[in-house]
Each structure stands twice: as C-alpha cells, then as structure tokens.
C-alpha cells in the first residue's frame, strides 16, 4: 500500500455561464444558465513515503483542485483518496493535523498581527509541544533568513517575505506530508532559490513527503525527481523527470559558424536555416540522425569558426506536451 493513493478521482463544478453586457446580465437574472465543468477527470496515482513529486499543468488544468482534495478541503464527486491511512475529506480534523499546506496565493497568516504572533497562534491550534516549536522555529527562521522581519505585521511584508513566513507557518507542527501549491509565485530569483534550497533540504534531510505544484519548471528540476503532468483534468504524464527529457527532448540544435560563404548539400532529416554572418542552424531529432556522422561531414569538408550544440530546455519540452494535447482535441 502506498502512502498516498488516489484512485479514479473526479471532481465536477457547476459554473454559471454569464452572458456579456447589461442586457446579458438581465437575461441571466431571469434565466440563469449553468454548465458542468469537469475540473478533474478520473485521475489515479500513488506516491510513496519520502517522495517529492512535481505536479504541473497549464492554468485551469486541475492541479489546485487535486491538491485541495488531497488536503481534505474539497470532496471528490467520485473515486477514492487515501493518505497515510486517512480519508482526507471524511476525517478532516484528525487528518489535517498531520499535513502542511502552502498556498502561494492565499496567506494563512494574520494580516494585522506580527508574524511571530501568527506562529504562536498556530502553535496553540496544532498543540505543538514547546521544545518542538522552538526547535522548528529556530531552524526554519535561520534557513529562510527571516529574523529581520519576524516581528513585523504581515501587512507590511513584501511578497517574498510573506511567502517565506507562510512556508514556515505550514511546517511548525512537523507535518509528514507537505503540499506546496505554487510557493514561488511572484517571488524574485534570489527568493525562489532560497525557497527551493529549503524545500530540497526538507525532503532529503527530514524525509518529508511532498507534492509541489508550480509553473516554474526550474522549481521542479531543483527539488523533485518525479513529475506528474495534468492537462484539462487528465493525467498525461507520470514518471521521472529525466525520462521525460529522453522521451520528448530528442530535438537537437546545432549552430555552425563557417569561415566563408558555403553552399551545403541537403542532409536527410535535418532542417537547415541560414543565419547572418555565414552561420547556419541545423535542427534534427537525435534518434533519427547520427550526430557524429553529421558533425564529421561538416567539420571534414568546411572551414568552421565556431560550433555550438544545444538540447531543448525543460520549458520547451513541457510546452510541446501541452500544445500537443490541445492539437489532439
């Protein structure tokens, strides 16, 4: 039995369809129109204890809905969810004491109170023993470099500071599982790096099981080995991040700067583009074209000034997967 089990889970929302404009609004008042939106369609996956799983998908794909069902906030319409022996939405009160959730878009801190007061409140709510609280607080504030603003009211914090405080708030009770729902949204590069390092350490050192949703693929690359991609409510990929690269990241791009103007014969399965300054770009799939053969031919027959080969970054791969899915429909 896995630590987190999700079996054939679906969630449908009833959304009202608004007609545009004032007349449309009036029409809506008398004849409201509703339609069903399937936010999550028949999703299944298992996660083992201590795993860190990246959860990605375009906006509106159903990531947050899934996280909310996993954390006991929303009830699924059908299917089963089990986390560490609990059924989240049925045993909410007992269950949520064991988990931590960070919603990047929703703060759990008290707007008018200093950060430390919010922490004290959480300590009371979760009945965290004094020594555990002190230890966690000290360690986390140091790791996330928070001592400078822990006494300030939340409303006066910058977004990055607030996010770090929110992360600590979700972890004070030493949860076994943590759901991060876009914890780096709107945070600058340095802040993101701090948060990623912190999350990585939490997973590797403390063995905390985590699910991490984000739009920034670098978040995933730095923290998770496994990746689940969902789009339009359906799971479209579940596996290692590296495998994804092997599967979809076969495109290679070779840029060659020649010393003089050259005329090239056509190469099979390779597209050639002309760039300025006698530069040419060769694009091909590395499972169809032998790269050493191609380079041997170029380097052997022409004078080459510079050469550069690149593989697609993960963003491009993901983009390819998202759009491919749309093209099929």
């Amino acid at each position: 039995m896995s630590f987190i089990e999700v079996k054939n889970v679906s969630k449908t929302f009833k959304v009202s369809r608004r007609r545009a404009g004032a007349i449309g609004a009036a029409a809506n008042f008398f004849v409201p129109k509703f339609e069903k939106k399937e936010a999550v369609k028949n999703i299944s996956f298992n996660i083992e204890k201590g795993e860190a799983v990246g959860f990605i998908g375009p906006n509106g794909a159903g990531k947050s809905t899934t996280v909310k069902m996993l954390s006991g906030i929303l009830h699924p319409n059908s299917g089963e969810i089990k986390v560490g022996g609990y059924i989240p939405y049925k045993q909410r009160k007992a269950y949520v004491g064991k988990i931590g959730v960070v919603f990047g878009q929703k703060s759990q801190l008290q707007w008018d109170l200093p950060v430390i007061d919010s922490f004290e409140l959480l300590k009371a709510i979760y009945s965290v023993p004094d020594d555990v609280y002190r230890k966690n607080l000290e360690r986390f504030t140091e790791m996330l470099d928070m001592s400078g603003f822990i006494g300030q009211p939340v409303r006066q914090l910058s977004l990055g500071q607030r996010m770090r405080a929110d992360i600590v708030a979700a972890l004070l009770h030493s949860p076994e599982i943590v759901f991060f729902d876009e914890p780096t949204i709107g945070v600058d590069v340095v802040g993101k790096e701090t948060i990623r390092a912190f999350i990585r350490e939490l997973n590797r050192q403390d063995g905390v099981t985590m699910i991490f949703t984000t739009h920034d693929m670098r978040d995933i690359e730095k923290t998770c080995r496994r990746l689940i991609i969902i789009n339009e409510g359906e799971k479209i990929y579940d596996g290692a991040l590296s495998a994804l690269r092997e599967m979809y990241g076969t495109t290679r791009r070779l840029e060659v700067a020649f010393s003089e103007k050259v005329d090239l014969p056509g190469f099979e399965n390779v597209t050639v583009e002309n760039l300025e300054n006698n530069k040419k770009r060769f694009t091909f799939e590395n499972n169809k074209v032998q790269i050493n053969e191609l380079m041997n031919r170029i380097l052997g027959e022409y004078n080459v000034r510079d050469i550069n080969i690149s593989e697609p970054d993960i963003e491009t791969i993901i983009q390819k997967i998202y759009t491919k899915k749309e093209a099929e429909i």
């Binding site: 929302f13 947050s64 909310k68 954390s71 006991g72 906030i73 929303l74 009830h75 909410r92 009160k93 007992a94 269950y95 949520v96 004491g97 988990i99 959730v101 919603f103 878009q105 929703k106 703060s107 759990q108 008290q110 008018d112 109170l113 007061d117 004290e120 409140l121 009371a124 709510i125 979760y126 009945s127 009211p153």
Partner: protein, 264 residues
C-alpha cells in the same frame, strides 16, 4: 479535545481588534451617539408625561442602554463564513485540525469580550453620569439577567450561524443578512421597546426567538417578571438555541460537500 486552540483564537481576535486605536475611539463614540439619538427621540415623545401605560422614561432609558449595550457586545460576525467563501480563504480555514464551528464561537466570544470592555462599559459609564440608569431590581435579578443575556447571545449566534451556512450555495448573502438584522432590530425590542407594540403582536413575539435576545434580559433586570416567568422565558431561549442550531448544522454538513474554493 483541548480548549487551548479555541482560547488562542479568542485571544487573537482580541489582539486584532486592538490594532487600530483610532477606530476604537470612534467605535465608543458611535455606540454612545446611537444611544443618545434614541434617548432624545423618546424624551421628546414622553414630553411632560411621567409614564405611558405604566412605562416610565427611566425604564425606557434603561431598556435602550441595556439592549443597545448587549447589541454592541454580541454583534456576531455575520460575514465570518460568507467572506471566507467569497475570497476563497475558506481553504486555509479547513486546514486547521480544529472544529470550524468551535472556532467561530471562539472568535465571537473574543470579540464580545473586547466589545464589553471597549464599547459597553465606556458607554454605560457615560450614561450613568449623564442620563442615569435604573439599578437592577435585586442582586438575584442581576444574576438572572446575566444568565438570560448569555442565552440571548446564544439565540443571536445560532440565527447568524444558520443564515451564514446558506453562503455555501449562494456565495453572496448580503441581502439575506440585512433582512435578518432588520427583523432582529425591530422584533427584539432594541429599537422600539416591545412594551409599545400592539398587544396581539406581543403575544406572538413572546414566543419568537427575536424577543428573547434583548427584551427578556431587560425585563428580568427591571424586575418585571416573576421567577416562574423567568424560567419559562429562559426555557424558550434554550429551546430556540437548540432548534436553530440543529437547522444550521444540517446546512453545515450538506454545505461542505458543495464547497467551492474561489480564486485559484
């Protein structure tokens, strides 16, 4: 079950309320202002007569300071759940390993305590030195007044609780809450003392939940009720608390399954 989390919430709301000092001063002034406006209106209505149907002006004054004072203390947050559903923060609330209803009560109690100290007491003191307030009929009646006032708070809270639960379906329930508050203000005797209502209406109102919120405690304070009547009235208060709570609880259970988290 430990009470500590709930006490922490009560304390938090108390601290939150203290955060804006200017607002608190203005709050005291507005509570007093409200009282004096009603007092002036009734003084003008009384003119030179000492009593109307046996009700004297000092009794009316006492009714207003007590019912408005209690009103200022109680003021349950009608938007506690609706605002959280509206802005989606209900999601983080459900992540707490505690009872949401318990927390709702805790925050309301913390709020009531704050209002008692920073709304009611200042206004009572000001009223004592300006217009004068009747003393309670007897120490025993004062104790029963406190008991009945707590039950009245219970009635008011359960009404608010039940109305708020409809937000699971309706999301924006501002108008529903406004209707509820108008009914309470008019039918509870906090605007027009129920002494002055038509006799037939009073007979009905006596068994409605609204009148038991403010008017029952005031009558006890003034010594207008016999011991048996007090027991009956407190029984009615308790019965309403149970009935309305159970109704709200059904909505609460069904509503959770309907929950929609707005805004991502």
């Amino acid at each position: 079950m430990s009470l500590r989390p709930y006490l922490a919430y009560a304390k938090k709301i108390f601290l939150n309320r203290s955060a804006y000092r200017f607002d608190n001063v203005m709050g005291i002034i507005s509570t007093c202002l409200q009282f004096f406006i009603f007092w002036e209106i009734y003084k003008a209505l009384y003119g030179t007569s000492t009593d109307i149907d046996g009700i004297t002006m000092p009794m009316v004054t006492t009714n207003f300071i007590l019912s408005m004072g209690l009103g200022a203390i109680f003021s349950p947050d009608d938007y506690f759940l609706p605002s959280k559903i509206w802005d989606g923060s209900i999601a983080t609330e459900f992540l707490r390993p505690i009872s949401f209803k318990g927390r709702m009560i805790a925050e309301n109690v913390g709020n009531a305590l704050f209002n008692l100290l920073f709304r009611f007491l200042p206004c009572l003191i000001i009223a004592l030195f300006t217009v004068g307030v009747n003393a309670p009929a007897s120490p025993a009646m004062l104790a029963l007044f406190v008991l009945s006032a707590v039950l009245g708070f219970g009635v008011l809270w359960t009404i608010s609780f039940a109305v708020q639960m409809t937000a699971f379906w309706l999301i924006n329930i501002w108008s529903l809450i406004t209707i509820k508050n108008v009914l309470i203000n008019v039918l509870s005797g906090s605007m027009i003392p129920l002494w002055f209502m038509p006799r037939e209406l009073t007979a009905i109102l006596n068994f409605m939940p609204f009148s038991s919120v403010y008017f029952t405690p005031v009558q006890i304070y003034l010594g207008q009720l016999s011991f048996e009547e007090i027991m009956l009235k407190c029984g009615i208060q308790l019965a309403w608390i149970i009935v309305i709570y159970l109704l709200g609880d059904i909505l609460w259970r069904k509503g959770q399954k309907k929950l929609i988290v707005q805004g991502g």
